[in-house]
């Protein structure tokens, strides 16, 4: 007597589970230019590191003799694996079965992903392609009991405990779409993915709107409105972006982000920083070049470039230490804080606070965006929310006044007890001279023989007063620096804050929500 018969059946069931929706469904999936969930997991993880959980879950049918006749595996693949040698939890819908709409066992496995990540305190990666429940769904014998745990508690807990990175790799709708955005970093494939609260048929029925999936929820829509952080050319690039994002992150809120050896000298001083900010205040400059010059070479990983574009956010390293970088982009609406820019910056600060990442702020803030559109978007409320978020942070901040620093909005760029450096091009005050002079000296300008000439004179006089030298004399900044010394100064600061970082570990005063 042995268990050979049973172990043979286990083997058979495992083989059946790995066949997913069958050769035909897989071929069709490939024809559409998409990878299967198992192929995605293999490409994401370190070679052969996948440790699957719940391969035996699914729906079986038996013949009269009790012998297995068919086995439909759960259509959510889940397990542990490694990325750059660090353990993670990974899961994703299997679109080759029921189009990714959850089977009962698939749903159980999918909602277990967060629980597993929180329990083992490792990053969670979800690779989404699927829809929510179906009114024609089979196999749902009865609804969940009233005392079942609330489904989204674990989703919220995961976001407060471990890094969560997600990818939209095909059409993602309903529950998977909600879980896609419940993440610290999300990316969608430009060639294969759409994200839909509801698909075209439901939209046509409810709203009378005839739109394709791409028109409703393609990358052009969702990288611009902030639904996802990044768009990538294809599925493989999405997976690479997730690996890159995780390289900056700790495993959980109880650990510090991994510091690596940097071969970029801290003394590297880029000459072009001396000229990058034009003397003519009307002329813009490329803040991303400043970031490249200051941070470890090629380390900057931008998050949300298509959304809230007046603000630049991303992760980078300074002498190997992961940091959050936030900067203004004066090439877009002069770098003003729009409602969506404010939300982007707030969410980014929350990410840094949750995972104890120091924040580097490169300031060129003209103030909140103004005008009728800005008023319609409730810019002042969203902007003030960002200001107060900065005020509540406990992570170390280093702010560099690169150029403008004006109005209420500027306060968002300086954390409590932050280290503040100013470039010679810095100018600061309640509001930029152009707008301020027009209001404060309205009568004087109007009464002048040559109003335009008088306006320019006043602007010139007041601009001189906004120079950083008087501010430095009053010890209003820690130091005035040569822009070329910014990298060195920030790397020295990173070294100084090392004793502070372990004291920040654990749950933060506030966490992050989508």
């Amino acid at each position: 007597m042995s268990w050979k018969k049973e172990t043979d059946e286990i083997t058979e069931r495992r083989q059946l589970a790995r066949q997913q929706g069958g050769a035909e469904a897989i071929a069709k999936h490939h024809e559409r230019g998409r990878l299967t969930v198992r192929e995605r997991i293999d490409k994401l993880l370190d070679h052969q590191s996948f440790e699957e959980v719940g391969l035996a879950a699914g729906a079986a049918s038996y013949d009269d003799g009790g012998k297995l006749r068919t086995f439909d595996p759960a259509n959510f693949v889940l397990g542990f694996g490694k990325i750059d040698g660090r353990r993670v939890v990974v899961g994703g819908e299997d679109f080759t079965m029921r189009g990714g709409s959850p089977s009962p066992a698939g749903l159980r496995k999918s909602v277990y992903a967060e629980e597993l990540a929180v329990q083992f305190k490792v990053p969670l990666i979800r690779l989404h392609e699927g829809s929510g429940g179906s009114v024609g769904g089979k196999g749902q014998t009865m609804p969940a009991p009233v005392n079942a745990p609330a489904r989204f508690v674990s989703v919220a807990e995961a976001m407060a405990t471990v890094p969560v990175a997600t990818a939209a790799l095909g059409a993602v709708a309903g529950l998977p779409a909600g879980r896609l955005v419940a993440s610290h970093f999300s990316v969608m494939s430009k060639t294969t993915a759409q994200i839909l609260t509801a698909g075209p048929a439901v939209v046509a029925r409810a709203m009378g709107e005839q739109k394709t999936k791409e028109e409703l929820g393609g990358w052009k829509v969702h990288t611009k409105n902030g639904t996802v952080d990044n768009g990538a050319e294809d599925e493989e690039t999405c997976l690479k972006e997730i690996r890159r994002f995780l390289s900056f992150m700790p495993n959980n809120i109880y650990q510090l982000a991994p510091v690596i050896d940097s071969d970029d000298p801290v003394e590297r001083a880029e000459e072009y920083l001396l000229n990058i900010v034009p003397n003519d205040r009307r002329k813009s400059f490329d803040m991303r070049q400043v970031i490249q010059a200051v941070c470890d070479q090629t380390s900057f990983f931008e998050i949300g470039a298509g959304y809230g574009r007046s603000q630049i956010t991303g992760l980078a390293r300074l002498n190997g230490q992961p940091v959050g970088v936030w900067a203004n982009n004066c090439k877009f609406l002069a770098g003003a804080m729009t409602a969506d820019g404010a939300n982007k910056a707030r969410r980014f600060m929350e990410l840094c606070e949750t995972f104890s990442l120091p924040i580097i702020s490169l300031v060129d803030e003209p103030g909140f965006m103004i005008g009728s559109q800005a008023e319609k978007e409730a810019t002042i409320r969203h902007g003030t929310s960002t200001v107060l978020t900065a005020a509540m942070t406990t992570v170390p901040w280093a702010s560099v006044m690169v150029r403008r620093s004006f109005g209420v909005a500027q306060a968002a760029h300086y954390g409590p007890e932050g280290f503040v450096l100013a470039w010679p091009s810095a100018e600061s005050g309640p509001l930029p001279v152009e707008g301020g002079v027009a209001v404060a000296f309205q009568r004087e300008i109007a009464a002048a023989p040559d109003p335009e000439k008088r306006r320019l004179e006043l602007e010139h006089e007041l601009a001189a007063k906004q120079s950083p030298f008087p501010r430095a004399e009053a010890f209003g900044v820690h130091d005035l620096i040569d822009p070329r010394q910014t990298r060195l100064q920030l790397c020295l600061w990173v070294d100084r804050i090392q004793p502070l970082l372990p004291t920040l570990l654990g749950p933060s005063r506030f966490s992050i929500r989508p």
Binding site: R282, K283, S284, R309, K331, L333, A334, A336, P366
Partner: protein
């Protein structure tokens, strides 16, 4: 054909290239004024300007097609 679309609204301050002009990657094609800041739009590639759809002083909107050029 390369389409240059506007990232933001604003007013057109200067147009530096006209239809038929040869341009090099990085050449400034036109400059918007947005929030009292000049925002230059540069050619993404070597090529020839085919059509310019904006004019100096015009108020323009986000996503508006400003210029088309053919790559070399």
């Amino acid at each position: 054909m390369i389409k240059i679309e506007l990232e933001t609204g604003g007013s057109v301050w200067k147009i530096l290239k006209k239809s038929g002009d040869k341009v090099r990657a990085g050449d400034t094609l036109f400059i918007l004024e947005v929030m009292k800041m000049e925002v230059p739009y540069e050619s993404p590639a070597d090529g020839t300007v085919e059509s310019v759809y904006i004019s100096e002083g015009e108020t323009v909107e986000e996503d508006q097609l400003a210029l088309e050029m053919s790559p070399q």
